[in-house]
Amino acid sequence: MITDILLVAFKLAMLTFYLGILVYASPLPISRFKRWAPELILDSIYAVLLIALYYFLFDASEALASLIGGSWEAFKTWLSSSLSFVMYLKTLAVLLKSVITQVPLASTVVPLLSPLDRAATTAILFLITVAGIAEIVRNYGLVLMAIGVALYSVPFKLTKGPGAWIIAFILVFNTGLPVLPLFLEYVASPPDAEPQVPLYRDEYVKLVYSPGEPVRGGVLVVIMGGEEVASYLVNSEGSAISRLSGSPPIQLPLAPYRLEHEYLGVAFPLELAATGPQNLRATNKWIKVNPVEGLYAYVVNGEADPRVSEGLVVIEASLRPGGYLEVRYTDSCLVETELHGNATGIMMSGGSWSWRGERGYYERLTASSTVSFNLSIRYSGACDLNVDESSLLDYAEYAASRLDFITPNLLEAFILYYLTVPAMYIFMLFGATFGVARLLGGRDRIPVRVV
């Protein structure tokens, strides 16, 4: 296709040449008309020169770029990492602005949120525009330049200007864009935004302890890098609820995290399974029975088969050596446990616990050898659970407390590095484009005859 276009350009140049001769040969002594003769002949010579130098000019621009030290890979890397950082800041600003009425943000951060939002929007638009220009130059550069050469060769300078401009644009940007990251490195430095707080998304989390049996209470704890970053109350249907909104969904970070189920003073690891686009099922494999929110039993290193009826739970358990069955309940619950079967090899122990503003008791049956037994649990009373809400933390609040990296200095460095300096550079490239186009297009006509 490029050879086709160049062939058209060559034929146009020939036409221009013979038109020039025709004007010389014509018997019309009108000087304004005759002045075209040397112009046409010169134009055709320049056009043929450009057609012959077509590939050379393109290669030279690439060679110049790598001579300076730029490369398209470096440009692509810079562009994608810049875009992802800018989009991260934009998303953060939008998320925080949406919870600003519920979550206390530092007073130094609040006035910067709107400017940050706007600067990030502008930066996204600008960077994507630059990406678009790079796409044109990288993928369509040769074709566009050929079209430019063909336009340049049209007789009577009809499209010489636009042709020269396209050629100049492709050549200048083919050299200039790969060098952009280098220029930026010399003139500005990227904003210092470590440590960053991961963004979050809404998720509906349901806790169960066996297929179909929801957990009736407790606290869902989110742990990132060993640090507890959020905690959500689990209601009596097993759904985790947000403290700020009082209902599902909750916010979970978009970075790797672990979930634990804290219940009456014990922390259980959870097994997660996605049941839908924003739905997560968390299974607590230790709990065997959980009839009311203030009472449950769990087993370590053994099996248990519960039968539940009104006010009474009977568990058929078998334990391996070292395993135990533990019954935990709050102090608003009146519990009587009775062991049936052979009591040898079973050690009974118990005590009290206090956890997140609640208190209660536990009873543990530890096996010293393999045993099977039946345990009946009679319970009455309110058996409710009142967790101290001030001990809970929504992830949005955690994120809001980690925003001390948002300062006017950050905003300044951000705008400089992603907007001002790249825009300056792009304008410089356009200036060079006009210079090269003027050199090629010769807008200043040479008013002399060809000799």
């Binding site: 034929k11 010389y24 130098l53």
Partner: protein, 85 residues
């Protein structure tokens, strides 16, 4: 695209043929006016320019392909010299 090439080629051929014919005509016309007993100096100047221009036309007609060959050769030299080097 090929139609376009043929179209331009057709017109170039027409222009070339016309240029050959016209050059001869203009040259003759120029000499004719020069020889005519008209006492207007402006007319004499016009005839002079007609003769001169027609010779330029003949010059370029004869030399056209040579010039382009030189241009293409120069372009090759530049490409080899600067890329090879």
């Amino acid at each position: 695209m090929v139609d376009l090439v043929d179209f331009i080629q057709e017109w170039t051929t027409k222009v070339t043929a016309l240029a050959w014919a016209l050059f001869l005509f203009t040259w003759s016309l120029g000499w004719a006016i020069r020889g005519a007993p008209l006492p207007f100096s402006k007319v004499k100047r016009v005839s002079g320019s007609l003769i001169e221009d027609s010779i330029w036309a003949a010059f370029w007609l004869a030399l056209g392909s040579t010039v382009f060959n030189v241009v293409v050769y120069l372009a090759d030299v530049i490409s080899q010299g600067l890329i090879g080097g």
